[in-house]
């Protein structure tokens, strides 16, 4: 019952937030430096064991930056990447990071990917990233 309620609220949230948003891309300064720095600590603790200290990937865990990574996500909404992280990572304890923590890690990934920081932090609530498109190159 509770789960249903949460799902319902989340889906309402998507509609409400998405409706209010302008289409943007990852090039539009969608995170802050401060947030990405917070993400560094989280990444080191929870992600680096598999994905490598520099997001470069280690064997079976893919790189989280670079040509191959961004080719695989080109044209997708950032929400999809965020949901993938939130629901499946870290592999030994999926779903154990909060939305805010995942948002900080995603901010770090964007910074390492070379996308510019801005003044407004990347929001982790459902639907917040549904209008942000991943574009490898500046449109």
């Amino acid at each position: 019952m509770r789960r249903t309620l949460v799902a319902l609220i989340s889906s309402l949230g998507i509609v409400a937030v998405a409706g209010a948003q302008q289409p943007r891309t990852v090039w539009d300064g969608i995170y802050t430096e401060e947030q990405a720095t917070r993400g560094e600590t989280l990444y080191a603790d929870r992600c680096s064991k598999c994905h490598g200290d520099g997001l470069g990937g280690v064997e079976s865990a893919p790189a989280l930056s670079g040509t191959t990574f961004y080719s695989n996500w080109e044209g997708e909404m950032l929400e999809a990447l965020f949901d993938r992280m939130r629901s499946t990572m870290p592999l030994d304890k999926p779903g154990s990071l909060s939305r805010a923590q995942n948002a900080d890690i995603l901010a770090l990934m964007l910074r390492v990917g070379g996308y510019p920081a801005g003044t407004t932090p990347l929001e982790g609530q459902a639907g917040a990233l549904a209008a942000v498109t991943i574009r490898t190159y500046k449109p």
């Binding site: 430096e33 990405a36 720095t37 560094e40 990444y43 080191a44 680096s48 064991k49 598999c50 490598g52 200290d53 520099g54 997001l55 470069g56 990937g57 280690v58 064997e59 079976s60 865990a61 790189a63 930056s65 670079g66 040509t67 191959t68 961004y70 080719s71 695989n72 996500w73 080109e74 044209g75 997708e76 999809a80 990447l81 949901d83 993938r84 629901s87 499946t88 592999l91 030994d92 304890k93 999926p94 779903g95 770090l108 910074r111 390492v112 990917g113 070379g114 996308y115 490898t136 190159y137 500046k138």
Partner: protein, 675 residues
């Protein structure tokens, strides 16, 4: 002992099995027979060959999706990395799938679910070093009974009744053998010991063989770890039949190759790749990985047999018949990643039962599988020596004289990107602070002033990885995909928390322990190159092709053709620095397997891209196996993540491939020609 919850077949429609398999499980080395696909590699020799010819060059492009099987609800969350090659026997398709590595039986004509079995292993499953659904499973029959065997993430060997999905009561304890027990006399914590297996077990001669896989070995917590070993169990009872020690203990052959008594504490050295079996010869072929620590061998001086060796053992006893070490004292993570391929070949008019081993380093090693003698000489040659404190390098390494390496190795100036003079100049500048050299150039201790790392292709970033290759027994040609990608082999002091006996971890001063790339890092950018990928403005630092399929005659050892596999990545095609240039198809790097049929080599491209229709996705491609010319391609919504297989059912040839990646969760897709 932890409790397990089983998803019994209750929730699923039961469909009566009508077909009975008439013969015992002898599959031979001649490809998948009778239109079935009874083992992971098509046969026990992993040829990935089926002599089917309904799908041809003329009609490949008209293939359509006959059914799909989505795997999202086979665990508590969807899986995005489905690596299985399903089996097809008697009209049923069997596969592992989902985040708990469940087993499903499907109607091979429609994809309808017949039964599902899952094990909720609780904390043991969570602690597993090899998560997710793995590579698949094994099938066994004695002509009456049929069984499915697989290894759970928590490292338990499970036997299921293939008709019902119920555990086989007479096998182990209620259908389960705990593989953390009786692992080479080690007392293991049944929940937390970090050992598992994502490869499939293999059944040969009424034995079921299993290896061992560990956490990836770049950053070990200690020089000590669980020892890998290969074990065989009676396929009827689950009773342990024999153990082959990959780390010989005191008094055993090869023990002296572990200097300073390093055999006593070193671990790993498992067989995490697929094992092959020749039932006629009564032999099994074991591709062994590295000992503990992939990049620093100071704590394990010596050649450390049977690390990075291909070992042939007696199928009934596990006694070693022969071995060949492909890499001595490895510090490049060149452990053997894929199945040895059993191939009967004709060299200078003489028929030879051979075994061919593709590798991360881009060499194909070919031996007489009876004697272990190389088919073409393999020479010990001097190799570059390094200067990492405490390391003791092997002065020589084995070099096959034939076939020549099928992928580029090491890194040379000649390999560098040359789309434009500017890009090449940037690449030359970039490598100034790195060490480059031929194959077997060792890692360095990373320094800010340089060298930051050794750069090399065909090492940790492998030429060929776990999917391995295919072999056509009629033409005696081997097909294998390879990638050209550059790894950074650097060492840094480990972070706090590592045992004092660990001197280095893999990493560099730019990205080293606890120093993730941030604003202070050297460079960033999808557009301007990033700190990890050693790329030039986001472009690979090496020339294309980035991925290709290689066809190698095992009769002559000659490479017959090489063709780029996969459309040029969008990130390259659309790169601002390449505007106006015509770039021939580059292929893509990644781990993809091949399938050979009567006329075709079939493989999906790795990674996503813009497909001919404009849709984002990936293409399943077919090549004329004689020439390498592409003859057809069909759209898939996500890249191939498990190697393709094929079968005939009710007069129709099916082609099934596991796809997943990015935001697309695991799915089996079956293609066939229109009715």
């Amino acid at each position: 002992m932890i409790r397990t919850l089983r998803t019994r077949p209750a929730a699923v429609t039961a469909i009566s099995a009508i077909l009975l398999v008439a013969t015992a499980g002898v599959h031979g080395q001649s490809g998948a027979q009778k239109g079935e696909w009874p083992t992971y590699g098509g046969d026990l020799g992993h040829t990935r060959y089926a002599p089917l010819d309904q799908i041809t060059a003329a009609n490949f492009g008209s293939l359509e999706v006959k059914w799909r099987f989505k795997t999202d609800n086979l665990g508590p969350r969807p899986e995005f990395n489905l690596e299985s090659t399903p089996l097809m026997v008697g009209g049923r398709l069997y596969s592992t799938a989902g985040t708990r590595k469940s087993v499903v039986a499907l109607d091979a004509a429609t994809g309808e679910l017949i039964w599902v079995h899952g094990e909720n292993e609780g904390a043991r499953g969570q602690a597993a070093p090899r998560q997710l659904s793995g590579r698949g499973l094994a099938y066994w029959t004695d002509g009456r009974e049929e069984r499915i065997l697989y290894v759970t993430p928590g490292y338990r060997l499970v036997a299921l009744d293939a008709k019902t999905g119920n555990p086989v009561a007479g096998f182990g304890r209620s259908g389960i053998v705990d593989l953390k027990e009786n692992l080479d006399n080690q007392k293991l914590d049944l929940v937390n010991a970090p050992v598992g297996l994502h490869a499939t077990p293999i059944v040969g001669g009424n034995f079921v063989l299993v290896g061992a896989a560990f956490e990836t070995g770049a950053n070990p917590r200690s020089r000590a770890n669980v020892r890998g070993a290969v074990r065989a169990y009676d396929v009827r009872t689950g009773k342990l039949a024999w153990t082959f020690r990959t780390i010989p203990q005191a008094g055993e052959f090869g023990n002296e190759t572990w200097e300073n008594d390093s055999w006593a504490y070193s671990g790993n050295t498992g067989v995490w790749a697929q094992i092959s079996v020749d039932e006629e010869l009564g032999m099994a072929y074991l591709p062994v990985e590295l000992p503990t620590h992939d990049y620093y061998g100071g704590a394990r001086p010596g050649n450390t047999l049977f690390a990075e060796s291909l070992v042939a053992v007696d199928l009934k006893t596990g006694v070693r018949k022969w071995h060949f070490q492909l890499v001595h004292h490895g510090v490049w993570d060149m452990d053997i990643p894929c199945a040895p391929i059993l191939a009967d070949i004709v060299v200078n008019g003489r028929t030879i039962k051979a075994v061919a081993q593709p590798s991360k380093q881009g060499f194909l090693y070919v031996f007489d599988r009876v004697t272990g003698q190389p088919i073409w000489p393999i020479e010990e040659r001097p190799v570059p020596q390094g200067d990492v404190p405490g390391e003791k390098y092997s002065a020589t390494q084995p070099f096959p004289t034939k076939p020549v390496a099928y992928e580029r190795q090491g890194l040379a100036v000649d390999h560098l990107i040359d789309f434009t003079p500017e890009l090449r100049a940037e690449a030359l500048k970039l490598i100034e602070r790195y060490r480059i050299g031929p194959i077997f150039t060792p890692p360095v201790v990373s320094k800010m002033e340089g060298p930051i790392a050794t750069l090399a292709m065909s090492t940790q970033a492998p030429a060929t990885n776990w999917p391995g290759g295919s072999f056509d027994p009629e033409t005696r040609v081997l097909y294998v995909h390879s990638s050209a990608q550059v790894a950074q082999l650097g060492l840094v002091p480990p972070p706090a928390g590592a045992a004092p006996d660990v001197r280095y971890h893999q990493g560099t001063v730019l990205t080293g322990a606890r120093r993730t790339g941030g604003s202070g890092s050297a460079t960033t950018n999808a557009q301007g190159g990033n700190i990890n990928g050693i790329d030039v403005r986001g472009l690979p630092i090496v020339k294309p092709p980035y991925g290709r399929i290689n066809a190698i005659s095992l009769d002559t050892g000659d490479i017959l053709w090489q063709t780029p596999h996969g459309e040029t990545p969008d990130a390259v095609k659309n790169h601002p620095a390449l505007k106006g240039l015509t770039i021939p198809r580059t292929g893509r790097n990644g781990a993809v397997g091949t399938l050979v049929t009567k006329t075709l080599v079939i493989s999906g491209e790795p990674g996503y891209g813009t497909t001919p229709s404009g849709a984002r996705g990936s293409m399943l491609r077919a090549y004329d196996k004689r020439t390498g010319a592409e003859v057809g391609a069909v759209y898939m919504p996500a890249p191939q993540s498990g190697s393709p297989m094929t079968y005939m059912l009710n007069g129709k040839q099916y082609l099934v491939v596991a796809i997943s990646g990015g935001s697309y969760s695991g799915e089996l897709v079956a293609f066939a020609l229109p009715n």
